[in-house]
Amino acid sequence: MSTVTEHAEHEHIGHAEHEPHIPSDMYFIKVALILAGLTALETSTYWIDLGGFATPALIIMMTIKFFMIILIFMHLKFDNKLFSVMFYIGLGLALFVYCVALATFQFFD
């Protein structure tokens, strides 16, 4: 019995010791340069009139930046999936609240 428990404990700690693969500094610098480029593109829409295309373009660039930061800088891409689940539940609820609030005021305001 104790052998089984010890074995389970060993596996337990062994699992905890498993570190995800984290990329090199240069990889993060390249990602930061892409993010900086996207920010420059976003900002350029203030001076360059894109008409009706501006808002969708800004939303797309914002979404790309958002996911690049959470997946790469926050290591969600390399880490355990449980962390992703916990974060995406919060994010999903936030989007739900946002949609409900806007829809409610659109209908009843």
Partner: protein, 199 residues
């Protein structure tokens, strides 16, 4: 056998084999999404409610905000470099990148204080209109989060310098890093929805 074991480096792990601290941090960040989701929704609803007063189009200084956004974005890079240095057990570079991140964060907060002062001088205060109330609440909450992050970063530098980190040092730096990146990612959304997309 209890569900909780102690990691080799001193970090507590749960029955999933994952660090309790990290699980708690991700849970906290998930709940923060709800906080900022509510504040952003409120701003989007009220951004047109300024009557005959000054509105977003006349008020915002997009070039200044673009520079401060860039500064905050670069602070995310320095933060991730601090986390990588901590994983390599390189205390000198960890402290260097943590201090750099703190300085960039302070610069961002300074720009926000300057922006708020300029708005106030133009006659737009917290209670001037629904637009101004929701704007100051949203960006103010974010500014407070950045300020708390700067305090956490500088406290971490002091703790590392005195070699008084309880538990896994790399994990402690990583926790602050997660918080910092989250603050940055919230600004990515605010910058686009509040400043760049016209009302």
């Amino acid at each position: 056998m209890a569900d909780i074991a102690l990691h080799d480096h001193g970090a507590h792990v749960s029955s999933t084999g994952l660090s309790n601290n990290k699980l708690a941090m991700w849970l906290f960040l998930g709940s923060e999404c709800l906080l900022f989701g509510g504040l952003i929704s409120t701003y989007m609803l009220y951004r047109g409610r300024h009557g005959d007063g000054v509105g977003p189009a006349q008020l915002f200084d997009v070039p200044l905000t673009s520079v401060s956004s860039f500064v905050l974005l670069m602070s995310s890079l320095t933060m991730v470099l601090a986390v990588n240095s901590a994983k390599r057990k390189d205390d000198r570079n960890t402290n260097l990148w943590l201090v750099t991140t703190g300085l960039l964060g302070s610069l961002f907060v300074g720009a926000q204080v300057y922006e708020f002062t300029a708005f106030y001088n133009e006659g737009v205060g917290f209670t001037t209109s629904l637009f101004s109330s929701s704007f100051f609440t949203l960006t103010g909450f974010h500014g407070v989060h950045v300020s708390i992050g700067v305090i956490m970063l500088l406290a971490m530098v002091a703790i590392i310098s005195r070699n008084k980190v309880a538990g896994d040092k790399a994990e402690a730096v990583e926790m602050i890093g997660l918080y910092w990146h989250f603050v940055d990612v919230v600004w990515v959304v605010i910058f686009t929805l509040v400043y760049l997309i016209p009302a």
